[in-house]
Amino acid sequence: MNADVREAVADLLADRVTPEVLEAAERDGWSAGVWEPLHAGGFTTVGVPEAAGGAGGSVAEACAVLEAAGAAAAPVPVAETGLLAGRLLAAAGLTLPDGPLTTGTGSVTLADGALTGRLARVPWASASARIAVLADGPDGSVVAVVDPSDARIAAGHNLAGEPRETVDLDGVVPETTAPAPADAADLLARRSALARAAQIAGAARRVLEVTVAYTGERVQFGRPVSRFPAVADHLVRIAEQAEMAAMAARSAAVGAGPDGEPAELDVAAAAAVASEAAGLVAAAAHQATGAMGVTREFALGVLTRRLWSWRDEWGGERAWSTRLGHTLAAGGPEQLWPTLSRGVR
């Protein structure tokens, strides 16, 4: 099931995310040409209940989409539209606006019907049709829908050239608001970290393919460089870390169950493992491919620049490890093994 979703998205993106499209997306801020077919196929809102206007499906299926999107380096807010903003809106009983969506973290207040505050490093803000904002209202937390053209947006990027923008709300009147569930912020943070873990897993897997292919074709001193023990060793490390990242992300996603949210412990573990894997995979791949790997023409940099970015977004290895460690420590030694050996559902 999840494998089918992954394959469908991979097929759909295969010929669409070309080097030219990626270069253009870095200039333009995103790629409408990649977005349209994904959106038309219903892949941008997998994991958001149909009742809220989403495509339905589990968090695991949404992560399957993200793995494929990560492998393709698709320059569009697919994680943000579905698992992040989409589910945030749905949880507050709101219906999804059409088009790309995003959300971000920051301190925003709703007073007298207007929003004031700043969201930092919001992914794809300018390219989005709407921004879902979690704000402090007079009667508690609310989810508000904002048109980005009502906000002041300052440019910003990650290492991969993906937009990460500063969104200032100076008394912006939202289109809609609704009370947010008590755990909305925490669940959003979990899904965000899980989304990046899934993207990392996909990209890491693709790095393995690219690196194996290149080192298999490239001949030095009369034989393919993949036969040199040092290079072969890099390939094995990449494979191991790609397996780790994928298993961690998938386990956390599957553990969410058919309608549920991923567990805190699972997300923490997946984020920590995927974040570390991202760095190790990128380093080993560049070591194996040498100078060619750092040229802009070669397929590797597109992926490693994303790995280097995604691993720290919504918390990196140390942050999630620390959080997980405090949780495990609080459980005490007796609960350690029962907690860690709790199976996926």
Partner: protein, 381 residues
């Protein structure tokens, strides 16, 4: 490659709870968990386990076993290793010898050995390594010469764990002199009775002060024909198949669980961020590797042969175990005190001395990575 996570069924979870309850009842409160190769050699414990059907679980019922799936065996083994239970007496017999008899043994051998293994009454050692051979297992110099009704075996085996306590060892022997060609030809596996007069067992003291591995000198030991395991001349193929069997189980990531638990107990109360990060790092990786290992077990039950995946998981696991010792030691920030007051002190000392051997068992890091690299690059062409 890249597995999907596999859920445990309600039955499998119930089995886990059963084993857990048994261990909570059986092991004393101040029990010092065994590390590494599966804990201490305790015939009594092995027999008690066997009564529950938890020894030689995958042996078919017609031979006295439980006929259990790989995953059910995984569940039981995992709990035993997590507790550091004393399972060394039946460890090799159940993990290696029983499957070997099932695959290569005669019907008579199966009927004789398997029920005894499942009863926890028949314990095995491995007889593969020889002096100066290292990972070059094919450089076997122990020879078996055909004699009336059987073979006469002479040579020296090393790193034979618990040969001074166990009943038998499957010894890899040269049954045809090495020719010019294939170094792997002419090898056979013979079941040597370790109580035979011609068997001389002496301990090899290790740097941790333990003496559980041995040198075994075979001085013209007679092995009857009916104790040849599998085909004469096929020893190499049989042994490598066995090695693949032992690769990716829970013993590849649970050697350190006792240490980890003791760290939480001693240094994990309201930890600072350095210690919390260490706890989280270990936990996140353990949680993930366990899913990988379980996925291999499930895939075996589904009739697949995930040899490369198993190699990767083993390499990931043993590397992880060594890192854990360093991570927890660093986070504790203490002098290592082998006779120290806490369980963590004592287990840390044991782990630091033993960790170097963890990457040697069942194929060194280099061998495993070689297998994996070959598969990866083959896939690409």
């Amino acid at each position: 490659m890249i597995f999907d996570p596999t859920p445990l069924s309600a039955d499998e979870e119930a089995l886990r709870e059963e084993v857990r309850a048994f261990l909570a009842e059986t092991l004393p409160d101040d029990f010092r968990p065994g590390l590494g190769l599966g804990g201490r050699h305790d015939p009594e414990f092995t027999r008690t386990l066997a009564k529950r059907g938890w020894v030689g679980m995958s042996i078919p019922t017609e031979y006295g076993g439980a006929g259990a799936s790989t995953v059910r065996r995984f569940v039981v083994i995992e709990e035993l290793l997590a507790a550091g239970a004393p399972i060394a007496a039946h460890w090799i017999a159940e993990r290696q010898s029983a499957p070997a008899f099932l695959r290569f043994g005669t019907e008579e051998q199966r009927q004789w050995f398997l029920p005894r293994i499942a009863a926890g009454e028949c314990w095995f050692s491995l007889g593969m390594s020889e002096p100066d051979a290292g990972s070059d297992l094919a450089s076997v110099r122990t020879t078996a010469t055909p004699v009336e009704g059987g073979w006469r075996v002479s040579g020296t085996k090393v790193w034979t764990t618990n040969a001074h306590l166990n009943h038998f060892a499957a010894m890899l022997c040269r049954t045809t002199p090495q020719g010019e060609g294939d170094r792997h030809a002419g090898l056979s596996q013979l079941i040597v009775d370790l109580s035979d007069d011609g068997v001389h067992v002496s301990p090899i003291p290790l740097i941790d002060g333990e003496e559980h591995v041995n040198e075994v000198v075979l001085d013209g030991v007679f092995v009857p024909d009916e104790r040849v395991l599998g085909e004469v001349g096929q020893g190499w193929a049989q042994v490598t198949a066995e090695l693949a069997h032992e690769r990716s189980g829970p013993d590849r990531y649970l050697s350190i669980l006792g240490l980890y638990r003791a760290f939480l107990d001693v240094h994990g109360r309201d930890p600072d961020d350095v210690r919390a990060a260490a706890i989280g790092r270990v936990g996140a990786r353990l949680w993930t590797i366990r899913q990988l290992s379980l996925a291999v077990a499930r895939s075996l039950d589904q009739g697949e042969a995930p040899a490369v995946e198993a190699s990767l998981v083993k390499d990931i696991g043993t590397t992880f175990e060594q890192q854990v010792v360093e991570t927890l030691r660093d986070a504790a920030g203490i002098e290592i005190d082998p006779g120290g007051p806490t369980m963590f002190d004592r287990l840390l000392a044991e782990c630091v001395l033993n960790a170097p051997t963890w990457t040697l068992r069942g194929g060194t890091t280099e061998v495993l990575r070689g297998i994996a690299a070959k598969a990866l690059t083959r896939g690409a062409r």
